[in-house]
Amino acid sequence: MSVIEMQPVTVAPEDRPMKLIEALKIVNAPPQQAAQHEDVFIVCGFTPLHLQTFLEAHLLLRSPDRRVRVNSGLYGDVAGNLERAAAAAPDAVAVVLEWPDFDPRLGVRTAGSAALSRDELRESIYSQMDRFQKIIDERLAETTLALSLPSLPARHSCIQQSWLADPVNATLRRCFADFSLWASERKNIRLLNADRLDQLSPPNARWDAGAELATGFPYHLNHTSILADLLSRLIRLPLPKKGLITDLDDTLWRGIVGEAGVDGISWTLDRHTHHHALYQQQLSVLAHAGVFVAVASKNDPSVIREAFARPDLLLDVNHIFPLEVSWGPKSVAVGRILQTWNVGPDSIVFVDDSPMELAEVQAAFPGIQCLLFPKNDPQACLGLLDRLRDLFGKRFISEEDALRTNSLRAQPALSTDFLETAEAEITFSAVKNSSDSRPFELINKTNQFNLNGRRFTDSEWLHYLQDPETHLLSATYRDKYGALGKIAVLGARQSHDKFFIDVWVMSCRAFSRRIEHQCLLRLFKAHGVDEISFDFRRTPRNNPIQEFFAGLVGENPEGPLTLTLAQFEQRCPRLFHTVKDG
């Protein structure tokens, strides 16, 4: 039972903030051999001190296979530090602003000024804000930038009582809102959610006045650790989970439908079961964003069909696939769902109100994240919804996200006869477009048909695209049953008459359609090469691509391999796609 979270976390995935001594131990630990370097630059106006240590430690925890170096600039010079960050060309920049960076009179290390007037202050802080924004737009537009706006209150001498908001406070709030809006519209900027920070780090326990006056570092250690943790999440956005399997009775709705009947189950305010409605609503939002949603329920299928016919249900039954309703063990139902989805357990979340069911599923699939639905605790239920948002969240919804569930449902048996009549169409594109996030997403989340398991950071991907020697080929698929969207990406380098492929992934939804063969045929023909080399490496999950290569070269590959055009032509099955250029 220890692996199951009996209480949904209401604040953070971690139990507690990291201690400084733990952060130093992580930072001082010898790096792994052959680890890739990653440079991050902290831009702030205070002495970065422990924030630098905590940020490095949290980044290392997120990617233990990398060496992380966090650099910083000069005290009290945010604009100059933004310029320095741009000149250093790091992989990512963390910008941590406090009010004295906008006007030194808003901090405690400057004294001697008279009471501030609203107009004077507005001019001063907006002029500084414009300056920061201009440098970011002109010098850092291509760099991933994690931004934290002031997390400490402004300190200024004024006449009003502390509980009375004065015009200066109002001006600062407006500046904060304007800066937030500006930042949230920039693709390269990931703005820290101030509400989330407030939940995790109480505002009145953040400021260490003694330390700020003595050393120029303004934060208590707990706040520093939490801030660094969130900045590291912004820099390394966690990969979202792919699917959610939910129980029904006392989870999707309140009540046991088999006993209470279809009219006896509820999710309404008047029956004090509204938190089930909020859960339904969250699942509906996830389903619209391309998350697979399935049901594993011990029930009579005919009763469940009747329940899903209720018009007031907030989750459309068409968004649920598959619906596994039987009296067998939940783990068996979950196993069937995973097979239908063709995804691994570690991409899945299972939600149930029964600790016993959670334990049974967890024992069968240790990789699944099992979460208890707290049916008697609406507050904890809201915490669960926040947790689901964090586990499945993504910045943007792509065209493929919208197609995903329908393409699963339309999955027919893929015999040769079927393929011949499917009217399949593949559109290839060789454009290296850094604003298209789909190839990056596909490479970083595909496990099964993946050449070598290589993952990219934002900046590594940008450099890969900008490298004049690299080629990118992406494939978009549709047939008469529907569209799958962009489902394959292949990255290669060409040298004379040889092609060297170092990146190749294909979505599991596109298996068994011979799209992978068409990709290679395209490369052989379009580039007129006789051989293609692959930087293949075995991973614990890439069996599908191992089997594909075994079919072409006659044996399971152990490492990098080369395929000749003659070998390919000899073993390539018949292909029926219409091929287009995009």
Binding site: I21, L24, L49, A211, A214
Partner: protein, 79 residues
């Protein structure tokens, strides 16, 4: 070695990782080139975090060796 000394050595090792545990008991700001102002500030924060003490600004100038910090903690730490 008592528990206080053991935990204090952990703190010193975190900020001066290149110095062996045995040697750390002899270190001072004067005798150790790696011990700069950043090490002092980090060490003070570590000691506050580890031993639950709250140092005063004036203490920093006196806490310049393993021995002086050890003695300070024996006088002030919350057990």
């Amino acid at each position: 070695m008592n528990e206080l000394e053991d935990r204090l050595i952990d703190c010193f090792q975190a900020v001066l990782p290149k110095i062996g545990r045995e040697e750390l008991r002899q270190v001072s700001m004067k005798s150790t080139s790696e011990w700069d102002s950043v090490v002092t500030v980090t060490l003070i924060s570590l000691i506050e975090e580890t031993f639950g003490v709250e140092t005063q600004p004036g203490d920093i100038e006196r806490l310049t060796s393993f021995k002086s910090i050890h003695d300070y903690l024996q006088r002030n730490k919350q057990l």
